[in-house]
Amino acid sequence: MPITIRYMAALRDRMGKSEDVMELPSGITDSDALTAHLQDLDPAAHALAHPSIRLILNDAIAPRPSPIRSGDTLAFCPPFTGG
């Protein structure tokens, strides 16, 4: 099963895409490891590692790092600016 990675708001502009769908590489079991892997693929992904970035994992706000597995949807979120 693939993992779906979403880039929200300013991170979507930074990454130049709203979503990646990929097979979860073996040995990657949490969001920090995935973030490092994404940086290997594309240097622009270093923005995902910024301490202000928050995670939404399968429709819930999740701490960093969070465990991930195949089938998950993980969204990288810039700080919220509603209201």
């Binding site: 429709d59 969204a75 919220f80 600016t81 509603g82």
Partner: protein
């Protein structure tokens, strides 16, 4: 009679009509407090565009309203947030609370508007004549949210 009403919608927010739904509806409530946030004129601003994360945003607002309801013994809590594109002067968010006493209602509204700014997934984009940019989170908003959570933590301790 207690209840929580959460709405995230592209539709225009009618603040007065929402307030009127809360006033007079509950004979045990002495007070209704509200806050209406609207798009403010800023240099170059043509429109704001609000993006959210469906389901997650609504759940986050629900959690904020539930915490406020417990903390201040609210009878009703309402958070109505608009998304999509809106022009200067249009209402972006309406927050209201009813409670037996005024201080509870006012504090609850302050809490809900402060928390939703940093704890609910919304992102604000500014459109100007010359292009668009994402609004950056402000330290003052984080501090406002922390004020409440620090206070609640110390009360629990």
């Amino acid at each position: 009679m207690t209840g929580i009403s959460i709405t995230v919608s592209h539709e225009k927010i009618r603040a007065g009509a929402l307030l009127d739904q809360l006033t007079g509806a509950d004979p045990e409530c002495g007070g209704v407090a509200s806050f209406t946030g609207q798009v403010r004129l800023e240099p170059g601003l043509v429109a704001l565009e609000l993006e959210h994360y469906p389901a997650v945003t609504e759940n986050a607002l629900q959690a904020i309203a539930e915490t406020a309801t417990r903390q201040w013994s609210l009878h009703q809590a309402v958070i109505h947030h608009r998304v999509g594109r809106m022009e200067i002067g249009e209402t972006l968010v309406f927050v209201a609370a009813t409670a037996p006493h005024r201080r509870e209602a006012l504090d609850a509204v302050g809490y809900m508007i402060d928390l939703l700014k940093t704890e609910a997934p919304f992102w604000k984009q500014v459109h100007t004549k010359d292009g668009s940019h994402w609004v950056e989170a402000r330290d003052t908003d984080r501090e406002a949210a922390n004020y409440w959570t620090d206070q609640m933590t110390s009360e629990d301790a």
